[in-house]
C-alpha cells in the first residue's frame, strides 16, 4: 500500500510540470519592427545602397525582417545588416545561430575583440566580438552584437541567458542582430579597419537607439 504514496508524489510533480508547460502564454513579439528600418541610408560620410552578397554576410533563414546595405566612403566599402528575429523559442532558430559570418570556403577565422563606446560615452564601453574571416576572395573583418530591446549584448552566453530570462518571465523576446563587415586589405593594419568598424558601430547604434526611444 505504501508504494502508492511515493508514486502519487511523483505523478503530482509531473502533473504540476505538465500543467505549467501547457498553461503559460505563448511567446510574443517585443521589438518594434521599425527599429530594423531605422538604419539610415547615410551614416556620416558613408552612403549606402541596398543589398549585400551572401558571401559577405549570410542571410539567416530564421530572420523575420532585415535591412542589408552596402556602404561606400571613397574607396572604402562596408556592409551592414540589421536583422530582426522573432519567436525565439522556435526549434529552427538554433540551426541558424551561427549565420553571422560566412563559413563556407573559409580557410581561417581569427577571433578578435573590439571595445566600442556605443553610447558615445567612453565611461560605458561595450566589448564586441570581431573576427577576421580568411576567404578565397580576400579577408573580411566582421563585428556584431545582439540587441534585446535597447540593450546591447556583445557576449553570446550573456545574451542567451538574458534571452532565456525574458522568455521565461516576460514571454516576449524578439531580438536584433547587427553585423558590420569591411574588407581587410592585406597590407593595411587590422587596427585601422577596427577603427572604421568602431565608428560605424557607434553610428548604427545611435540610429537604432533613437528609434527605440520613440
Amino acid at each position: 500500500m505504501r508504494i502508492g504514496l511515493p508514486l502519487g508524489v511523483i505523478l503530482l510533480v509531473l502533473a504540476a510540470g505538465a500543467g505549467i508547460l501547457h498553461t503559460v502564454p505563448p511567446v510574443k513579439g517585443a521589438v518594434n519592427p521599425a527599429a530594423v528600418f531605422a538604419l539610415p541610408v547615410t551614416l556620416g560620410a558613408w552612403s549606402g545602397t541596398d543589398g549585400i552578397s551572401e558571401w559577405i554576410l549570410p542571410l539567416d533563414p530564421s530572420e523575420q525582417t532585415s535591412v542589408r546595405r552596402t556602404y561606400r566612403n571613397g574607396t572604402h566599402v562596408a556592409w551592414i545588416s540589421v536583422s530582426q528575429f522573432g519567436v525565439q523559442n522556435d526549434e529552427a532558430r538554433r540551426a541558424s545561430i551561427n549565420k553571422i559570418y560566412p563559413i563556407q570556403n573559409v580557410s581561417l577565422i581569427e577571433k578578435l575583440s573590439l571595445t566600442v563606446s556605443l553610447t558615445g560615452s567612453p565611461a560605458s564601453p561595450v566589448t564586441l566580438p570581431a573576427v577576421v574571416v580568411h576567404q578565397d576572395l580576400g579577408r573580411l573583418l566582421v563585428t556584431y552584437w545582439h540587441q534585446i530591446g535597447n540593450d546591447v549584448y556583445g557576449g553570446e552566453y550573456r545574451y542567451r541567458l538574458t534571452l532565456m530570462r525574458d522568455l521565461i518571465f516576460k514571454r516576449r523576446a524578439d531580438t536584433l542582430l547587427v553585423r558590420i563587415a569591411t574588407s581587410a586589405a592585406p597590407g593595411r593594419p587590422v587596427a585601422d579597419e577596427l577603427a572604421v568598424l568602431s565608428d560605424l558601430a557607434t553610428s548604427v547604434r545611435a540610429a537604432l537607439s533613437t528609434e527605440f526611444r520613440k
Binding site: 500500500m1 505504501r2 511515493p6 511523483i10 509531473l14 551561427n98 570556403n105 581561417l108 542567451r160
Partner: protein, 306 residues
C-alpha cells in the same frame, strides 16, 4: 523513507512446540508492486518528456553526426537487461534522496522548455529517471541501473554554440596534424587554417570531417563496450575515455590517407564511396583499436587479480 516495505509477524518454529515464538521479521518487500509503480512512473515521465524526445529524435535524423542517438536507448535497455537477475534480487527500499532529484529535473525541464534551451531540458531526462528509480526502488536498484541511465546522457546533442566552437577548433587541429604528417611523408603541402593546398588540388577539412562528431559517437561506443564484460571499474573508465583519443587518431589517419590519395591519385580519392562513408570507416577502425587496447589493458588487471 521506507515506501515499499511491509512489516509483518512470522512464526519461527525452533523444533519444539513450547518454543514457537513470534518475532519481528525483516520487512518483506512487495517487489512486484514496486516494479509496477516504477513502470507507471517511467511511462508518465516519458509522456511529460515526449516533446523533448521528439525534438532530439528530429536532430538525430537530421544530422548524420548525431545519428548514434537512435542506438543509445536500445543499448541502455540492453545494459539494464544484462543486469536483470541482479535487479530482480535487489532489495527494494525507496529513498527520499530521489525526490529532490525529481524536483530538480522538472525545474530544469521547465526552464529549458520555456527558456528555449533544449540542452537543459534534455539533460534533465536521465536525472528524473535516476530520481524516480531512487525514490521508488531505493539505492541498491539505483546503483545497479545507474550506468544504463547515465548512458542515456550520450544521446543528448551538445548545445549548438559549444558544439560549433569545438568543431571549428577540432577542424584546425585535424588540418594541422594532417599537414605535419604529410610533411613527414614527403608530400608538399601548404596549410592555411582548415585548408590544405597540395600541388594538384586544394582540400578542406570540413565540419563533417572534424573529429568532434565522431568522438561523441565513439564515447558512446566505448562506454557500451566497457560495460559488456566483467572488468574492474578503473578499466571501464579507461576504456570509455580511450574511445575519444582513439577516435581522434582514427579520424586523423583517415584524413591523412585521403590527402595522400588526393596527391597520388587525384580527385577520385575524394569522390568515392570510402570517403563518403568516412564516419563508418572511422567507427570501424576505432572498434578495432578499442579491442586491441582492451586486450592490452586486460593483461594489467588479470595480472593484478592473479
Amino acid at each position: 523513507m521506507n515506501g515499499v516495505a511491509t512489516r509483518e509477524k512470522v512464526i519461527v518454529d525452533t523444533g519444539t512446540p513450547a518454543e514457537v515464538v513470534r518475532v519481528d521479521a525483516v520487512p518483506r518487500v512487495d517487489t512486484r508492486r514496486a516494479w509496477l509503480a516504477l513502470g507507471v512512473a517511467v511511462v508518465a515521465v516519458l509522456g511529460l518528456y515526449a516533446p523533448v524526445i521528439a525534438g532530439m529524435a528530429a536532430e538525430w535524423s537530421e544530422f548524420p553526426s548525431l545519428s548514434h542517438g537512435f542506438a543509445i536507448p536500445f543499448i541502455s535497455a540492453y545494459l539494464l537487461w544484462s543486469r536483470r537477475h541482479l535487479l530482480a534480487e535487489a532489495p527494494v527500499q525507496g529513498s527520499i534522496i530521489g525526490l529532490p532529484l525529481i524536483v530538480l529535473a522538472v525545474s530544469m525541464l521547465l526552464v529549458g522548455s520555456l527558456g528555449a534551451e533544449p540542452f537543459l531540458a534534455r539533460f534533465s531526462l536521465p536525472i528524473i529517471l535516476m530520481g524516480t528509480v531512487l525514490f521508488l526502488m531505493g539505492t541498491r536498484v539505483a546503483r545497479l541501473s545507474r550506468m544504463a541511465i547515465a548512458y542515456l546522457a550520450l544521446m543528448i546533442p551538445l548545445p549548438y554554440l559549444t558544439l560549433n566552437a569545438i568543431t571549428y577548433r577540432s577542424r584546425l587541429f585535424d588540418a594541422g596534424a594532417t599537414a605535419t604528417a604529410l610533411g613527414w611523408l614527403g608530400v608538399p603541402v601548404l596549410r592555411e587554417g582548415v585548408m590544405l593546398q597540395l600541388p594538384n588540388m586544394r582540400l578542406m577539412v570540413a565540419d563533417d570531417c572534424s573529429s568532434i562528431p565522431a568522438i561523441a559517437a565513439l564515447l558512446a561506443l566505448g562506454a557500451a563496450y566497457a560495460q559488456l564484460q566483467a572488468r574492474p571499474t578503473w578499466a571501464r573508465v579507461v576504456l570509455t575515455l580511450a574511445a575519444a583519443p582513439l577516435g581522434l587518431f582514427s579520424n586523423i589517419v583517415r584524413i591523412i590517407l585521403t590527402s595522400l590519395g588526393a596527391y597520388y591519385l587525384g580527385p577520385i580519392a575524394i569522390n568515392n564511396v570510402i570517403h563518403k562513408f568516412g564516419g563508418t570507416t572511422v567507427f570501424l577502425a576505432t572498434v578495432v583499436l578499442l579491442v586491441v587496447f582492451d586486450s592490452v589493458l586486460s593483461r594489467f588487471y588479470t595480472k593484478a587479480q592473479s
